[in-house]
């Protein structure tokens, strides 16, 4: 996730202090990973340096948490550009799982058992996410669905691979 763009976009509705920005970010996007204050202030310093935000006011008392930031015209353009650019799809070509399967076959260990163990682990996480989805609001449901669909894709790969182990073994063994 681009924290810079997200914080910038949150400023479009009006100037905010760093603390407010962190709270708004955590509430909407930080479900499992709330931002550290340090991340907020280092990001805001970078945005400030690049002219994408400006200091709208400083409260008495000083310190970085007293600064109120406002988005600049350049910042608004930057957010718009970010939103119109497609995210690069993850190619998933460097798979640890694939490597493990091949190593198991090469070393005479059970690749089928490895796949079974991984399936159980994936399903365990899917249960946690399904339960969270059941209790959560729409935002939680969408976030969990995104993760669930990816886990489901992994499981389909595990299933397909488990049916091709003999062929793969014949190909990879010297």
């Amino acid at each position: 996730m681009s924290i810079g763009h997200t914080l910038l976009a949150l400023l479009e509705s009006g100037p905010r202090h760093g603390y407010d920005l962190k709270r708004a970010f955590d509430e909407k996007f930080g479900h499992d990973r709330p931002l550290h204050y340090g991340q907020v202030y280092s990001t805001m310093s970078r945005l400030l340096k690049n002219g994408l935000v400006e200091v709208d006011g400083i409260e008495a008392g000083g310190g970085p948490d007293r600064k109120r930031y406002a988005i600049t015209e350049a910042g608004i353009t930057d957010v718009a550009t970010w939103l119109t650019q497609p995210e690069k799809p993850e190619p998933y070509l460097q798979s640890t799982l694939y490597t493990k399967v091949v190593i198991a076959l090469l070393t005479g260990r059970s690749a089928a058992a490895l796949l079974d163990t991984q399936r159980a682990e994936h399903l365990r996480l899917m249960r946690v996410l399904t339960d969270r989805k059941r209790r959560g609001d729409l935002a939680d449901q969408l976030i969990c669905d995104h993760a669930l669909f990816h886990l489901e894709a992994d499981l389909r790969w595990l299933e397909l691979t488990s049916t091709r182990l003999d062929r793969l073994a014949a190909e990879v063994r010297p």
Binding site: D116, R119, A120, L123, R127, T130, L148, E152, L155, S162
Partner: protein, 228 residues
């Protein structure tokens, strides 16, 4: 080793159809109130396992024990009676009687158990409400959507307060959203009634509604949590 307190246990089941082995040493166990998913590729023996567990099909070898009774030693009539009183069923297709209203469909197992129409339909209405399809009560199965139909089927499976619900691909004909809602309602209703659910599925998202899974491959089972 068989886990203590199991309600339904299968040991070393074998079943062959016309020289084709469907089960070749399948084992299974489930506790009261537990939801267990039976996963595996097409043709792996999942449905045959479910049919043996429910006493619909007799295995060639091995034993199925339910609440301390050897299911495989019962007569056909005894197994039929047990299915009516203790088991509920949800299938993928065609389980509702098209000529009956949804309320009548849900009330049917109670009517077969000798309960009067009015009382049976009252209980049926309560279940339809619980499954969020009370509006469909007076309609016939052909007049409602697939998702609503499966909720009616779940209501019918649970109306007799069974101790085990057998669900064979219960969401297989539904879109993702309807399927998940059916699973939510099925598992919630079953858990609150302390009914065990044997859930056969090839969809891992559906299996995620279970408490644990067993995998069937080439007629044999693998249970990651229990070494049977």
């Amino acid at each position: 080793m068989i886990p203590e307190g199991s309600l339904l246990i299968a040991e070393d089941l074998h079943k062959t159809y016309a020289h084709t082995p469907a089960l070749a040493g399948a084992c299974f166990s489930i506790h009261p109130g537990e939801v267990v998913a039976v996963l595996g590729p097409s043709g792996s023996g999942k449905s045959t396992l479910l049919h043996c567990l429910a006493g619909i099909v007799q295995p060639d070898a091995g034993r199925v024990r339910y609440a301390g009774r050897d299911l495989t030693a019962l007569s056909d009539a005894e197994r039929s009676a047990l299915r009516r009183t203790d088991f509920g069923f949800v299938f993928q297709f065609g389980q509702l009687v098209p000529e009956l209203s949804c309320t009548e469909n849900v009330a049917l197992p109670l009517r077969l158990a000798g309960i009067r129409r009015k009382a049976a339909e009252q209980v049926a209405m309560e279940w339809l409400e619980r499954l969020e399809v009370a509006d469909s009560g007076s309609k016939r199965p052909g007049e409602i959507s697939g998702g609503q139909g499966q909720r009616v089927a779940v209501a019918r499976a649970l109306v007799t307060s069974p101790r085990v619900v057998f669900a064979d691909e219960p969401t297989g004909a539904l879109d993702s959203y309807s399927g998940e809602r059916v699973m939510e309602l099925l598992t919630e209703a079953a858990r609150s009634s302390n009914a065990a659910v044997v859930l056969v599925t090839h969809e891992t998202r559906v299996a995620a509604y279970s408490d644990r899974e067993i995998v069937v491959r080439d007629g044999r089972t693998r249970d990651p949590d229990h070494s049977l």
